[in-house]
């Protein structure tokens, strides 16, 4: 594949922007969490692009992929905790709309 | 035996014990507090006796590495000089009496109160005992917090306003000082002074270029001026004094304000003599103006605690005036006046506190003819008033006299202005005394007032005795501080010699050179 690096980065930027849009516009907590996953994936893509560029001269550097792996692990954690909280909140308010959780002290 | 760390942290230890003791009997808690403060007082007095006043260097020093800021090392360093020894002793002596007075006006949340009281003592002693700039700043802030709670929890009806005002004012000062501290440390570090030791920094700062000195001096001086408080930063004091419980007022007047004047002397003049020489006329004017201004304010008050607070403004004007006269007599008087003001204003607050506990009114016109039913109270009150107005033979006179003569040597005009304070002082305090004690009894509640009880006499009598003793033998105190003050005057004079006569030097300094 000889796609230039900037195209990968551009794709990552577009995905990230879509994630941001979802994060800010949606009320459904689950969708908000999904938007966050989307942003994390965009980040992963930039790491992949960078790693490819650095390793392309022959000397393979694995720092990028390792970081991606960690991010995936953390994303999993985040999703798990987030969803557990969603369930907990749902039990309390019978909804997962952000509007219901406007006040921090509630 | 003469261990500054022990003296400083003993109250904190006491606070810990009081806080954690499972015993819920208030008397036990008060007893522990009284015991701890008394032990500190004994240690303080023995420290005072062991101090060699002829030396300028710090004594009883202790030093341990603490941490590093970049390349600069910060030490836990304690030590006292001739100025701080007096204030440490004053603090140590005053606190048992404050503790003893607390049963009268602290009836709820006693444990908390005692804990704050003891922590406060550690903070105040630490301020005076620290020989490292960072440590000093640390204690400075530590001493701020307990009063915030004492004022806010046990204060009068407008305590929240007073508390917030007090806190914001002092915090503003503290932050300014923090800036100056950081600037000082970093600039000194740039010159290779890699320690925050006050003595080392003083050596660096007093030789620093005038412009650097000026800004650093301004930072420190404004911070301390707020604490003193000098006009126009004085308005927090009246509210804080008025709303504070008796013990809070006593500590505030007795010790906390002295932190400001102590700072001005030690850090303002001591560290930046060149800047201080240039700023001296301004500070002298502020001091002299403060004397008259505070007195006029006091004359117009109808609230006794507010009146005493305004008299503090007036008295501290003397301290600042004498200090910036930069003469032997002025400085000696200034240091002595710090002690005197602590004792006599503390006495006034303690005595009025005793009356307030009986009648729960601060308005002077609610009283009248009290002397007939409370002769002992009247005696001690008049004694305290006389000490405060500077009657010869009592403590106030010596300080005032030295300040005035010291000021007269540099500025006869300002001395004349300040002397009017002697008249005004008599006017407002005696007028208040007359309205409080003399005349016919105007309120029926006054008729049933009980005279001071044994506990209250035990609080005020020793302090009165101390006032008398200082008035008769001020030499004992002055001797302790003479070494340090002589060195200070020497430094100021040396600076005058080296200062270029010209653009930034005021005419007075030129005279000094001549």
């Amino acid at each position: 594949m000889s796609v230039p690096t900037e195209h990968l980065l551009a794709l990552a930027a577009i995905l990230f922007a879509i994630g941001v849009a979802g994060f800010f516009t949606r009320r459904n907590l689950i969708v908000v969490l999904m938007s966050i996953e989307l942003m994390l994936n965009a980040a992963n893509l930039t790491l992949v692009a960078g790693s490819r560029l650095h390793s392309s001269t022959g000397a393979v550097q694995v720092d990028g992929p390792i970081l991606v792996i960690f991010i995936i692990a953390v994303a999993a954690v985040e999703a798990a905790v987030g969803l557990a909280l969603v369930i907990a909140l749902y039990r309390q308010k019978q909804t997962v709309s952000l509007d219901a959780f406007a006040r921090l002290e509630d | 035996m003469h261990n500054l760390t022990l003296i400083t942290f003993l109250p904190a230890l006491g606070a810990l014990i009081v806080a954690l003791l499972p015993n819920r009997d208030e008397r036990v808690l008060r007893g522990i507090t009284l015991f701890v403060t008394s032990v500190v007082a004994v240690l303080g007095v023995s420290l005072f006796c062991a101090f060699d006043g002829s030396q300028a260097a710090l004594q009883f020093t202790q030093s341990v590495d603490w941490f590093t800021l970049g390349a600069t090392s910060v030490h836990y360093e304690m030590g006292v000089d001739g100025i701080s020894i007096l204030l440490i002793t004053l603090t140590a002596i005053l606190m048992p009496f404050v503790a003893l007075s607390s049963p009268g006006h602290i009836t709820e949340r006693t444990r908390e109160f005692l804990v704050w009281l003891l922590l406060m003592e550690t903070g105040m002693l630490g301020v005076f005992a620290s020989a490292d700039l960072v440590l000093f700043y640390f204690f400075w802030e530590v001493s701020l917090v307990p009063l915030y709670f004492i004022l806010g929890i046990w204060g009068g009806e407008r305590r929240l306003y007073a508390t917030v005002k007090f806190f914001l004012f002092t915090l503003a000062g503290s932050l300014l000082m923090l800036l100056a501290v950081i600037a000082l440390i970093s600039q000194a570090a740039a010159d290779g002074v890699l320690s925050t030791n006050i003595a080392g920094l003083t050596d660096w700062a007093s030789a620093a270029p005038l412009e650097a000195q000026f800004w650093l001096f301004a930072g420190f001086a404004i911070a301390f001026a707020i604490k003193v408080p000098l006009f126009p930063f004085h308005t927090w004091l009246a509210d804080a004094h008025t709303q504070a419980p008796t013990s809070g007022s006593v500590i505030l007047a007795g010790v906390l304000l002295k932190m400001g004047t102590y700072g001005l002397l030690r850090f303002g003049i001591g560290m930046f003599p060149a800047a201080a020489i240039n700023a001296a006329p301004l500070f002298m004017i502020l001091g002299a103006f403060g004397i008259v201004y505070g007195a006029l304010l006091a004359m117009a008050q109808s609230d006794m605690k507010r009146l005493i607070a305004c008299s503090s403004v007036s008295h501290l004007g003397y301290v600042v005036l004498g200090m910036f006269a930069l003469t032997h007599a002025g400085l000696r008087g200034s240091v002595l006046q710090m002690i005197n003001h602590g004792l006599s204003t503390g006495l006034l607050f303690l005595l009025f506190g005793a009356l307030y506990e009986r009648r729960h009114s601060r308005a002077i016109n609610q009283y009248g003819g009290v002397a007939a039913v409370m002769p002992l109270f009247a005696f001690f009150w008049v004694f305290a008033v006389l000490s405060s107005v500077g009657l010869p033979g009592l403590n106030g006179f010596v300080g005032e006299w030295l300040i005035l003569i010291g000021t007269f040597q540099t500025s006869p005009v300002l001395a004349t202005l300040a002397v009017t304070g002697v008249i005004f002082g008599a006017v407002y305090l005696l007028s208040a005394t007359r309205r409080l004690l003399f005349g016919e009894i105007t309120h029926d509640e006054t008729r049933s007032l009980k005279d001071l009880n044994t506990r209250e006499v035990a609080i005020v009598a020793p302090l009165c005795a101390l006032c008398l003793w200082i008035g008769v033998q001020p030499g004992v105190l002055i001797e302790k501080t003479s070494g340090s003050l002589d060195a200070l005057v020497q430094r100021v004079e040396d600076t005058r010699q080296t200062m270029v006569v010209g653009d930034l030097v005021d005419p007075r300094a030129e005279e000094g050179v001549r």
Partner: protein, 187 residues
């Protein structure tokens, strides 16, 4: 050819991502996201990261998305009341916030794009194309070696994190189940 495959996958990824955000029904969102991740896995593979592609499918597709789907199902198809669903229209309800969110998104996205495009000329792309080792850029031996030597500490931290999460999530769920009625009664 390979390049074309990339652009196709990229297009799918963008479209499905947009679907995630735009779909009213959370189930649709979940499915869109799954497809998005799938196309990203393809891109990884194309770029020479076989292992990452595998992980992407396994962890994201297999674990995380299933979890999402599970929750969506558990909460009664998204857990939003019909009115709330109406309000959850990303574009047309509460225009102010939507506009703000979109503006931020567009601004961030365009900033990134502009930055990327302007910065592209500074990238030193290999003149004679990318040399792709047979085992890819993320050959497992190298990866494993780095993971257990240089990155051993983060690795352990991650494992601790995972453990803590496991416990934490269980506690969260458990506390809810045995929570006193008082908590439930709160409005």
């Amino acid at each position: 050819m390979v390049n074309l495959l990339f652009y196709a996958a990229a297009l799918v990824a963008v479209l499905t991502a947009a679907g995630v955000v735009l779909a009213r029904n959370p189930v649709v969102s979940v499915v869109s996201l799954l497809s998005c991740f799938g196309s990203l896995a393809v891109i990884y593979l194309l770029a020479g990261f076989q292992f990452l592609a595998a992980i992407q499918i396994l962890v994201y597709g297999g674990a995380i998305m299933v979890l999402f789907l599970f929750v969506v199902m558990l909460l009664n198809l998204g857990g939003l009341s019909p009115e709330a669903e109406d309000r959850d229209d990303p574009l047309f309800h509460d225009r102010r916030r939507s506009a703000g969110g979109l503006a931020v998104a567009v601004a961030l996205g365009s900033a990134s794009l502009i930055g990327i495009l302007r910065g592209a000329r500074h990238l030193t792309e290999p003149t004679n194309g990318f040399v792709l080792p047979a085992e890819g850029y993320d050959a497992l031996p190298a990866l494993a070696e780095a993971m257990f030597t240089r990155y051993s500490l983060p690795f352990e931290a991650a494992s601790v994190l995972l453990l803590a999460t496991t416990v934490g999530v269980m506690v969260l769920a458990k506390r809810q189940r045995s929570a006193p009625p008082a908590g439930e009664e709160r409005p």
